[in-house]
Symmetry: D3
Subunit: 314 residues, 6 copies
């Protein structure tokens, strides 16, 4: 497999196609214009500066452009940067596709979808099953391609589906160990809990927050979607309310954006499953970049802690 | 006007009709059954104990029963109590009505409604006006009779309408003083902000929380209602989102139950108007019961403070 | 199986042997002495008052005494109490044993031990294995009989072992789902994390805190025990330090009694496993006592929340 | 009206008189001296750098100097800066006055004073009136010219008077809507609450904190001033104490600098009026600089929030 | 020396003169009036109940009355109470004096004063000395007799002087160990810091909070007193401001009632000295009542902790 | 005495030997390598930049190298920097020693040791004395040379011993003023409380945190050391536990790293002594660098406050 941009060592020469993920213009302290780019391929992204830029460069190197770049890796404040020596937009005849340059879930979205729908076979309550299935169908395209976040964890194409399936696996284990858990509620809660992200976020690539995302947030949006779906399917009863509550409370407490704390057992457990899956990904990602016997960089969503990577057993 | 139950002094004899507001049975430390009643008329409520009760008393003196009571006022831990000497359910031929025994807004619900609808004439944006008017019509009966809370402030028949109209008056003043405020958003926000209470609370009398109220809360319920109404009226656009945000953020911050802090100016001001109107009512109510030169009882929703009532000017 | 004391309904007559779990003397507001007892059998415990007691009763009905009690169940402030009509210490010839009157894990301590030791077969690192096994052997008797807490969860005979084995099962699932987890560290961390309780608590019955428990706490005690064991076994290296850190950080943050937050991945996950297992037990226990469609009592260690028990599916 | 310095677009040429508001010297990372200036006119202020400066420039371009500047606007990290091409101190014969180059209240201080004194006619309590009027007279010159703060809101010449009059208008509305409010206390509280700023701040131009401001703060200073004034006027009684309390508590709680929370109704309301008036100014100011459909910059005193400016109705 | 009321054991008979410290009437749950008294002598105080009281008893046994009481000590919820068998007001011919029945500092107020004034000889700055001495003289009578608090520590006659002198001794030690401390500021700060208590509290006996104490607090009152004194003595300069700041900041931070945190070194140290002296008294008082090997009652102002009294060395 | 590097004024020429305390390489925004050095002598340290460096410079100017430097002092963002004009490693024949270039306690470690051991003569409890003396002997070399911290206070050679002796002096004063304090516990607690630093920190020069320091912290390490020592000396009893508790609780509360709050009086006082001694050093150090009438830089460990240095008396 081709070497990714995050796998180069300091001092190595680079000559490859990359996708512009972010593009900002700036002015140096002495007043000269430059551009600050984030360039990516499947392996991740890297920062790069383009000095003494002109106005036409802004459009030429806007986000979502594919570029051919030559340069060298150097280290700036503990992080790799790409010192650009040559850059130009990719030419049509070079046949570069965006999808080949963005990170995505390891499994294909078809595989993930296949695994996800298996969980419906363990669900028994027809109301819960129908609501969940209907929402999944309605937004299937987005659910299977959106990331689960703009950064930190599952922030890649199909990240949302990846996160959901991983949580379902953990949910299944917990239902076996603690048989008093209601599978219908827990599985449905896992599937629905973050679907509001397909409204909150702009899309799978160069992801930003939408106005709706900023003013309402994915939790409130989804609570409303469940209500609408139940109305459309003419489903009534406690189940509708409990699914809304599962989604509403899954951040665990008010300060973290859930206007109600979990008030049913499955909602409490959903919060834990979400946390474990997100933290495992953040820790694995940070530890992969760390040598045994050293510490990771500070991880902001984990209380800004550095984690130690043991020497033994690695 | 007839003397209300809260206006009797310690030592005075009582002989009147009262409504049972709450009814709980208990057991004394030595194991004897008794009932703890809260009895009310238009002036407010008072606690009373019924000693050595039997099982049949539970039904006889359940909440929402009208009773004829004789007894004497005494003071228990700084609060008046009614020592019951005689009690019996009211007889049909005595023609007592519940509505005559519950506190309610000073103005009739018709007057309040009349005043409320005047504010629509100052609104210009047709989308905002139509959504707001539609929801008001749909739940008009409940909106005009429900309380705004189970205790503390506007906790009486038509309390919700009373609170809403009072806030609209203050909103109007603020729009005059700060003309950059958008009247459509602010008035609609005020009218809609607490309508979710008609789902959250059980009704105008002997009010408790519903399951929906406990698991979702009036804020989330109302955000969904606005979405459904817009869908029904086929209204789209930023206005829908902004109205949802006004309701969503009106508690001001996450810890107080708003999953998003206010992000538009009118939402920020709505939070203040709500606060001022609620606090004025709590303070006036507590100070009315306090003599000049003395302190009110501790007011829990005001950080448990006691307020001083000045001697001068009163 | 014989009906337990917690399974009687209000109004039912009781005539059975019970163990005095707690015994406190008091004086009524009018100055008469009485005793407040907590009586238990395998099913749990119940409060009871003994009126007009004399000094000799204090010794006669001290904690850990078995008594024969006759009386009736009544309800006091929402909780069942036993109104004692007759009481006397059990006679030797009645052959009552304490162990038959205290709640304990469902599985026997032998079965729990059998399951626990199986997990050693999956461990590979000899240093970790030897330290863990040595401590387990050294305190085996206490570990297999002590509770994990004085109240709330796993607060019964062999509760500590029950909690440990349940956590190991969950730990195993997590290692399968997230293969980057180091089994040696995680299993050993689970086994060791609460062994300090055998110093912190007084014993399996009528459990209280020791002076050592109050002044040092089970976490610091165990960190020291690991150091002593490593010294005794002449084991050195990172493993010793990491096991100490697993124990030290398992409460997750400083405010909860861990002077260091988790700084290795397995320590972070240990904290979650501990939480999930404790909360599942508290929730199951509270929900068992609750009817469908109603709320549990407030659960103090779960932020004082009441949980709702759904009607459907039960 | 002449175009203000904040109204130029990026790329435009500037050639105008400006006032040096702040002046700091620095050294570049490579050790070369430069000066960092904040230059202002009536419209607001802008940053500018002067490269390769010499020691004599420090005095030449000190704060409160008027300069003639030529240059070009460019954008640095999202904010406009002025790239200086030529600069020199203004010459006496150019007749530039500082007062023409500092922002100030829209109304003249005479108009503001006129409006302010009208409120005395509604006050009835002679003690309150005399104390308030005496302090107003004593510091009239400062009160009518000082800003209310060094930044964020009402941070311009006569800002304190502007803020006070605006609050009085709102106070009057509230007294009409809630007639139980005592006008004497509320109006006097509004007038006095921030007069301590004339001790806390250095003056109307290039404002900084005084030593007294840092060590005591405007609240404590004013509490003392009221005591001294009452002593001088030989006024005694509850009124003096209540006015001191109004000032003392107007920040609302201890963490915000009020050693006592409001304990009279008018003090509670004063806190709200102060908040609303300050926030309206901050929001209006930030939204004026924002296009419809976009967000303001983060506003630190509003919990660092960005506010959205709706598209409709603007 | 005569045995004090706090030195009787449970079961002992009492027949002595006591002072009524607090007197409240109540009603039993069954509606019978009673009085709840706190009775004291030099050794401390004890609670007592008077059953079936009549209206005339209220005046007869009001606070500050000396009574002759017969009865027996019993234990109620872990605290001693006096069961009254006989009670009557003391007769004039029995020559009982209040001062003989209230706890007070061990040293006489004359001795304390003598020691206090010695510290002036070490002060050099005439401005600081004159202000401090003037205030001491002006309120000498109150300063030498008031308590420093209504409860917890130094809550007895001359408690304020006792606390002040004890702090001066510690201040002197610190000045010797850390010679950079300014003695003038530190000694004066210690002497002045709590003098505001003579306004905040009602007096040396049956102490309550005054209106001024509630609305302004001893800190703000004293800051004003220093300003007035300086004005009267025509003293100006930094010293006045620094003394005000010492008093203003001595609670250490905003949440604890100091609107400014310490900003000079001596103010920081004053806060520590105050804390150590208050805590030593609370700890000594609680530990005196505790047997070796046991824990004190929970101490609310020490974060509600129980302290352990070691067995060895005692 | 020779002028130290922190005593030069801006603009002065430097030509002296310095020790490299920290050495980091960087890249300028335009991609050129440079090194950022912290250079020190006995007086303290100063930052310096070395531009256009090559790879061989990294080793040449690594931490703990002595260099001969020529250059000039300039001011960068309010702090002095050294602009390097010439630099080379010191030559062996120049006879420069590291110990002459690092700050250290004013007294020699021998004098400090002499003073420290005097305190043993006042201790009476043989168990406490033996444990304390044994640990002191065992780590004497490290205890007498290590700093007490990496920055802020006592961060120099023998800083730990300096801090300990200074605290002992204050402890002695407190024992005289409050004779109920147990000298054995307090003195031993002071001596032991920070010895864990000799494990937590890397050494007296160029000090960093060890892995053990990061994962366990000096408090937990020391609690274990006391246990091991007691075991080795075959000492048992409450004393061992109390010494462990003194160390465990000396940070005062959980958030500050003590898993148990102080539960004996001497532990509470130890926390205060530690605080006062550390803060006095931080304040003295900051105020020495400040002119009368000005403010210190912000002091992070003192809540980020600036302190004012009075004009009078200095």
């Amino acid at each position: 497999m081709k070497k990714g941009i995050t796998q180069y060592a300091v001092g190595e020469q680079v000559d490859t196609f990359l996708l512009v993920k972010q593009s900002n213009k700036g002015v140096t302290t002495t007043g000269n214009p430059f551009m600050s780019l984030v360039l990516q391929d499947k392996s991740g992204d890297i920062e790069a500066k383009l000095w003494d830029t002109k106005e036409e460069h802004e459009k030429m190197y806007a986000a979502e452009t594919i570029v051919k770049v030559g340069g060298e890796i150097h280290n700036y404040r503990g992080k790799n940067q790409l010192r650009i020596k040559s850059i130009r937009p990719a030419r049509p005849e070079e046949n570069q596709s965006i999808s080949a340059l963005v990170p995505s879930a390891e499994k294909s979205k078809e595989e993930l979808y296949e695994e996800l729908v298996q969980f419906f076979f363990e669900m028994k309550n027809p109301k819960i099953q129908r609501i969940t299935r209907h929402i999944l169908k309605q937004y299937q395209q987005e659910i299977m391609t959106f990331p689960a976040a703009t950064k930190n964890h599952h922030d890649y194409v199909s990240g949302l589906a990846d996160h959901t399936v991983s949580m379902l696996r953990l949910g299944k284990s917990l239902c076996e160990l603690y048989p008093s858990l209601n599978k219908d509620l827990l599985y449905s809660g896992i599937i629905l809990h973050d679907i509001g992200k397909v409204f909150e976020l702009s899309g799978p690539i160069a992801t930003t927050y939408t106005l709706e995302g900023n003013l309402l947030g994915h939790i409130s949006i989804m609570v409303t979607e469940i209500a609408k779906t139940a109305q459309e399917l003419e489903i009534e009863g406690e189940e509708v309310l409990l699914l809304q509550h599962m989604v509403l409370s899954h951040h665990g407490k008010e300060e973290w954006g859930s206007p109600k704390k979990p008030m049913i057992k499955e909602a409490e457990i959903l919060h834990y499953i979400d946390n474990i899956d997100a933290k495992m990904m953040m820790l694995d990602r940070a530890l992969e970049k760390t040598k045994p016997g050293e510490y990771t960089e500070r991880l902001f969503p984990l209380d800004n802690r550095s984690f130690y990577k043991p020497e033994f057993g690695s």
